[in-house]
């Protein structure tokens, strides 16, 4: 099958690239665009390491064929810091010890970003529910929940 040219925005910058339509958004971000902040964990939608926002909605980028994001705006972890200043969520993860090995962190932060967009002052249950699709094997989660609460109060 031939490649097709598609356009979409990544962290505010327009992109036009040639892709095979069934390439995973995850692979296009990492290998074609060079944004390796988005990680691959399970590759089957269970772990959330590859989570990014598509038009403001959290998705697992390992399960999205790139053709389906034509015309969309993608936000990855690289798009959060502004003018050299970390996003409040990134600062909170750093200060609370919410990041250890770092593999789950980009997906965890984007899931938190969606969570705070839906519930700016989330309850403990809403935080747990909102991050239920993001697995972390280091922190035991409590420091991550602390970080989200801290960011929600910032």
């Amino acid at each position: 099958m031939p490649r097709v040219a598609i356009e979409f925005g990544v962290n505010g910058a327009p992109r036009r690239i040639e892709v095979y339509p069934m390439e995973r958004l995850l692979d296009v971000l990492r290998e074609k665009i060079g944004l390796t902040g988005t990680k691959e964990g399970c590759g089957e939608g269970e772990c959330g390491a590859c989570a990014v926002l598509v038009d403001g909605e959290l998705v697992n980028s390992c399960l999205v064929p790139v053709l389906q994001v034509a015309g969309c705006e993608i936000l990855t972890v690289e798009g959060l810091a502004k003018n050299g200043r970390l996003h409040p969520l990134q600062q909170a993860f750093r200060h609370s010890g919410g990041a250890q090995c770092g593999i789950c962190t980009p997906g965890m932060i984007l899931a938190s970003y969606q969570l705070l967009a839906r519930w700016p002052r989330p309850t403990e249950d809403q935080i747990r529910e909102g991050l239920a699709g993001n697995l972390c094997r280091c922190t035991g989660y409590q420091k991550i929940f602390d970080a989200v609460r801290q960011a929600s109060e910032a």
Binding site: M1, Y20, P21, M22, E23, R24, G43, E44, G45, E46, G48, A51, E57, L58, V59, N60, C62, L63, V64, P65, L67, Q68, A70, A111, Q114, L115, E129, G130, L131, A132, G133, N134
Partner: protein
């Protein structure tokens, strides 16, 4: 082994008619991709030519009509949870949607995808079955409505023809005054696939059952409604004897197997216990 990406084609038509023509021409439909992309990545997707339905506006949205609530095929689990009318009248479907994966999956996974993927363990079918859901099947040459209760015909088989897609799913607005029950038993609260799930809907008058629906996931080759058990209860007063009779019947009506998630024996016991828990809510 991973799939070789250039072997696969995916096109995204802008209109429903164009999509139906492509499906008639043997391309297979894809909605949010949460099931098909898992197969694809592991090299097990049996289709080379796919049609993305994701951006087709006619297949989106939840509409509350006078007699039915009609959901577009692409209604996501997130949209189900956000719908006021579904929360008010069809809470079991909302609950099932909240159990399906987590947020990222709920944002992409669709109701029609859950039905068409036809997993016997899927979360939404027991709720759809007790609500007497009907499914619109669309092709380039015709369209028809079929009761969801007869949709699945065996393990991963259904009445859906290869040139058809699911267009809409509608639920009759007849739940007023009904007791509603849904419980899923899995290994953990989030992200788990059901060992057993039972949905129940019942209406009684002076303790006598007027209408009852019982449906299950993960205890047969497909999601099932237990009409024999329903027949045991219809027109009867719910008391200890009626509950024991229904428990004996349902244990014979289901056909669970032992697999990686549970055993036949455990599934039968849990089914019977969930049925009892539901029926006890109907005792006045």
């Amino acid at each position: 082994m991973r799939a070789y990406v250039p072997d696969y084609d995916l096109v995204a038509p802008a209109s429903l008619n164009e999509a139906l023509e492509l499906v008639a021409d043997h391309a297979r439909p894809m909605a949010g991709g949460t099931d098909l992309m898992v197969l694809f990545e592991s090299g097990k997707l049996p289709y080379r030519s796919l049609v993305s339905l994701w951006r087709i506006p006619e297949l989106r949205g939840v509409a509350a009509g006078e007699t039915h609530v009609t959901m577009g095929a692409l209604t996501t689990y997130t949209e189900i949870q956000q719908s006021e009318v579904l929360r008010r009248e069809f809470p079991l479907l909302v609950k099932a949607a909240s159990w399906t994966g987590a947020v990222a999956t709920q944002n992409r996974g669709t109701l029609a995808g859950n039905i068409a993927n036809a997993s016997p363990a899927a979360d939404s079918p027991p709720a759809l079955l007790v609500y007497d859901a009907e499914i619109e099947l669309l092709s380039a040459k015709d369209s028809r409505w079929a009761p969801y209760a007869g949709f699945h015909t065996g393990y991963k088989t259904s009445v859906l023809r290869s040139d058809e897609i699911i267009g809409h799913i509608r639920l009759p607005r007849t739940t007023a005054g009904c007791a509603q029950y849904l419980r899923k038993v899995g290994t953990r609260r989030a992200q788990a696939i059901a060992k057993v799930a039972l949905a129940g809907l019942g209406k009684t008058s002076d303790g006598v059952v007027e209408r009852i629906r019982i449906a299950l996931a993960s205890v047969a080759p497909m999601p099932i409604r237990c009409q024999e058990t329903e027949a045991v209860l219809t027109g009867r007063k719910i008391d200890r004897t009626a509950i024991e009779d229904a428990k004996a019947k349902i244990a014979l009506e289901i056909a669970p197997i032992s697999d990686i998630r549970s055993t036949e024996d455990y599934r039968r016991r849990v089914t019977v216990n969930l049925l009892q828990e539901f029926l006890e809510t109907l005792i006045v």
